[in-house]
């Protein structure tokens, strides 16, 4: 696929305060006898209202960094602060709390609950966040309207197209008003036309002031971001503007 977005017309919005600060982060995996150095010392700062793409070939540590940023995993060594909180030393349930409140995930395979309708899927983070039912419904419904699915609220995932499913997933990521939205190959399972639509939605979210981190191996997707980080062999190879 080769999404051709209107690259020339875009603007870089002024960035806000620091959201993520990573310093000298390493990650080791034990694979049987072998120790794999997934990250060998990565330092990185991400500010509010950035649109960041993380690129790199497979095995570059791209996924590991994404898991780290998403608080799904903790570093073996190094410092990680999220909104000033030390994440590196957190236990499981504390990380779950951060993920629930601060991070919105968009997965390549959508990861919707198949037997729940769009509204239910979008409500899920609010349930785990302890939001009362009436407020939950209202917020989930409004977020679905915001992503253009106002007429699909009670459809189950199998009654929706791929693009619509990913929109539900985006709504689910947005509903808790997180500090960052973390998207892992968000167009990887979509045809090029739908992919462009999702990327346009991302552009729109960025314009509205959201912070976006997109992990991808496709240049065309990365070009939508304002900043691109390229990883190689567990190290940052380059970090700079997308154009």
């Amino acid at each position: 696929m080769s999404p051709t977005a209107p690259v020339e017309s875009r603007q870089v919005r002024p960035v806000g305060p620091l959201v993520i600060a990573i310093e000298g982060v390493t990650k080791l995996y034990q694979m049987g006898e072998e120790t794999i150095h997934a990250l060998r010392g990565v330092s990185l700062e991400i500010r509010r209202n950035e649109y960041l793409a993380i690129m790199g070939p497979s095995g570059s540590g791209k996924s590991t960094l994404m898991n780290m940023l998403g608080c799904l995993d903790t570093p073996t060594a190094g410092r990680y602060e999220f909104n000033g909180q030390d994440v590196a030393g957190m236990v499981d349930d504390e990380l779950a709390e951060i993920r629930n409140k601060e991070i919105g995930f968009v997965f390549q395979t959508f990861n919707l609950l198949p037997r729940s309708d769009a509204l239910r899927n979008v409500e899920l983070p609010l349930i785990y966040g302890g939001v009362p039912a009436h407020e939950r419904h209202e917020r989930a419904r409004q977020t679905l309207i915001d992503v253009g699915l106002g007429n699909r609220i009670h459809h189950k995932p199998n009654e929706l197209s791929g693009g619509q499913r990913q929109r539900v997933a985006v709504a689910r990521a947005l509903v808790n008003r997180p500090s960052i939205i973390l998207a892992d190959e968000p167009t990887g399972n979509l045809d090029s036309k739908t992919g462009v639509e999702i990327l346009a939605l991302f552009d729109d979210l960025y314009e509205k002031g959201n912070t976006l981190i997109v992990v991808t191996h496709e240049e065309a997707v990365a070009r939508h971001a304002r900043r691109i980080i390229r990883l190689h062999d567990g190290l940052i190879e380059s970090d700079g503007p997308a154009f």
């Binding site: 799904l72 779950a96 993920r99 629930n100 990861n111 037997r115 729940s116 785990y128 009362p132 039912a133």
Partner: protein
Amino acid sequence: MTRIIYEFTESIRIAMAQIRANKMRSALTALGVIIGIVAVTLMGTAISGINVGFDRSLAMLGEDVLYVNKWPWTPVDDWWNYANRPFQRPEDAVKLNRIIAALPDSQLEFAVFSAGRMGSIKSAGNSVSGVYTMGTGAAYGRILAADFAEGRLFNETEDESGRQVVVLGYDVAQALFPGRSALGATVSIQGQPFQVVGVLARQGSFLGLFSFDNQMVMPMGAYRKYFGIRDDNTDIRVKVKDKTRLDEAREELTGLMRRVRGQYPGTRDSFSVNGGALFKEKLDPIKRGIALAGLFVTGLSLFVGAIGIMNITFVSVRERTKEIGTRKALGARRFTILLQFLIEAVSICVLGGVVGLGLTYALFEAVKSTMPSFPVAFSVILVLVSMGVSVLTGILSGFVPAWGASRLDPVVALRYE
């Protein structure tokens, strides 16, 4: 707090959706629990039914009455030590009463002699044979555990003057005088006319062995005259003042009987002191053993059901590993995931429990209509206990897989295909 409630309701919703989505699988798994619950509740009710029947039977003997017999009521191995004992004589009871009357601190109130054998009774063309015929004193009225359907026991005067009066057991009265009162009627026993002065209320059978309703009671004088006291089935019944001090009373009675018999110290008793409560004490450990063994065996079937639940929960966790990863990424904590799968396991168990209880209820109704005398009862306690057992089974069998699910690494779980 509210968060836990949301997570709880969410877990229940997920569990219901999961059961609906896998109807066949859930039904088959629940079947294991259904069989287990039916087996355990049936066994539990059978045991309590037997206990109730047993206690009811023992109550017929009187809770505050001791019996002096030739033989103990529990089986003995050294029968030769008992075979040559004398039978109880009416004089023994007379002597006992004299001693008791002279002892103000005695735990015993009075003794009454009785003898019994099988006899037959006739009235206006109707006749009943094989009726347990008992001769005793008027004092028997004070230890009789049964109520009167009508009339009364013979009194002291009738007893001492050897009047030919009789009290009938319920079934005997029904057989001779179906649908009408037996009171005042004249019946023929051993070819002699007896007047009916009372009818006992229905008592039922003793341990299912013989019926207390198939008896008649007459004054000792009349009994002696027409049946005689040879090597009869005789006993002395002694009323105890305080039924909570039965052991003391038994000690005392043993001592007094030895005095009556003129037994030298160091010789074996020439009689046995029996009683319902004493009998119960001896049988209770045996009953408990049988109950435990029964519950253990039926419990095994519930255990098999529990293994089924555990297995299906493992499968469910495995199938939904990716979903667990997604939920964790969205902020589900360990406890949330644990709760989700525990509730799923418990739901299947409760489903099985409800159906199992329904089946048990149907079986009870069937038993009741075919064997009305068998004491089965479908009680609130039974419902609560079996629901409790169901929930417990679900928690115990679901815990290990649910725990495993809650500890899954979200990174690994998300990658799982």
